[in-house]
Symmetry: C2
Subunit: 232 residues, 2 copies
DNA sequence: AGATTTACATGATTTTAATCATAAAAATTA
DNA sequence: TAATTTTTATGATTAAAATCATGTAAATCT
């Protein structure tokens, strides 16, 4: 929890959606700190004290199952809000964990100031509601996929979602490096199964890989896999 | 779409959360209509025109998979909002379907008036955001369960969720009658598997059934099943 | 740099739950 | 009320994916 690194007060979801007059208050109340790769920012069951934003780096938001399984709910990248359990009923403990995927800078806002922010910034509240509506929409898709779509389709969907969120870098790779285990946890399957599925995708010339880097070669086929049977 | 039956303008989520001064506007702009059992209120892919509330009856919100599978995302009961796809990005088509589980009365608000309502009622917007936060929380649990929890646990969880939402009637039954197929679709499994699981629950004296009516006899055991392995 | 931990790789086996098949009962509708 | 549709019931079979087991490679920590 080093406190040196500072954000620019204009990048995150909060700074971008609140009225300019409120920014000094944000600057005065925010707490920046840097995290290193693999650092747990908060863990399922921890008491809720505030809300977080990503300034640098990527964070996985995940939910544990037993000792050694988890589901990655989503990724928070530059600017994104996470830990929004300050809101809603029974908002006393984080229902999910948040872990840094790489070194980065996090911004923390305590509950009290966040609630003041909501009161003062109806526009921000509105934006937050829209964000939740979109999250909910994605969650609905993911639930259906987990219930009915085979692993291969879920992996295809996961790769497309990663491409959407992180984009493609100069070399043509999806611009995030995940371990196969994290990819598996994101797709909601085991490492071994995902390993086999990725092998199939390689065989079928749908993707190429280079270590953790993944390149989508045939977007259409991948897309078709992610849709399969949902249209019949 | 009979237009005779009218709601009382004080029961639904909208009427309860907006300022009183706005209620006449709501009354002037709402469109009530009655639905019969099994009636599809809107279907996945339909263009979005407005938002709905339940005044009487229960509605299932579901997402299709192929021709004959679906996942029931949630149930909307008296007062509940549904079809909130008016909000968020790409809010052009309903991503889910809504079907009446029994005869009832529905309230419809068109998009334009709903957006005006949000502008005029920051308090309502705030309540809606909290509602979404809670929905999201439940969705996170459901996703993890679909990914990792065995069907028996998911059925246990489903029964407890039904008890929570609909309560217990005088005879001690969960106060909603679902077909086994709907219970299966809510738990994210097939009819046959759920049938077998319910048989096990009967054998273990955890529930009793009487046709579609289900009574939870041993809440603790059911709760334990719905937790199993998530704590290890 | 060496030691240790974490991630990758892959085959064999087992388990779970879906699929298929078929019949009876119940509910709905003509 | 007869006819049709929907729901319930249940066994047999198959398929998908998890688990188990084991070795190697790569990354991280002293």
């Amino acid at each position: 929890m080093k406190k040196n690194a500072q954000c620019d007060n204009q990048t995150c979801f909060l700074c971008k959606s609140c009225i300019k007059e409120w920014l000094p208050a944000v600057a005065a109340n925010k707490k920046n700190f840097s995290v290193k790769k693999g650092q747990v920012i908060f863990s399922e069951g921890d008491p809720v004290t505030g809300i977080y934003f990503v300034y640098e780096g990527n964070v996985k938001v995940h939910k544990k199952w037993g000792a050694d399984k988890e589901l990655i709910i989503r990724f928070a990248n530059k600017g994104a809000i996470f830990g929004h359990r300050v809101l809603g009923k029974h908002a006393t403990h984080y229902p999910i964990s948040a872990t840094a995927l790489e070194a980065g800078i996090i911004c923390y806002i305590d509950m009290e100031f966040f609630e003041a922010t909501l009161k003062v910034n109806p526009q921000f509240t509105y934006q937050l509601m829209l964000f939740f509506a979109d999250e909910l929409h994605e969650a609905e898709n993911k639930m259906r996929n987990l219930a009915h779509m085979p692993v291969k389709g879920r992996v295809a969907h996961a790769l497309l979602a990663l491409k959407d969120q992180f984009g493609i870098n100069q070399e043509g790779h999806i611009d995030i490096e995940l371990t196969r285990q994290d990819l598996a946890s994101f797709a909601g399957a085991t490492y071994e199964t995902v390993f086999r599925v990725v092998n199939e995708l390689l065989q079928e010339n749908i993707v190429t890989t280079n270590g953790k880097k993944i390149c989508i070669v045939d977007n259409d086929k991948l897309f078709a896999l992610a849709q399969e049977a949902s249209l019949n």
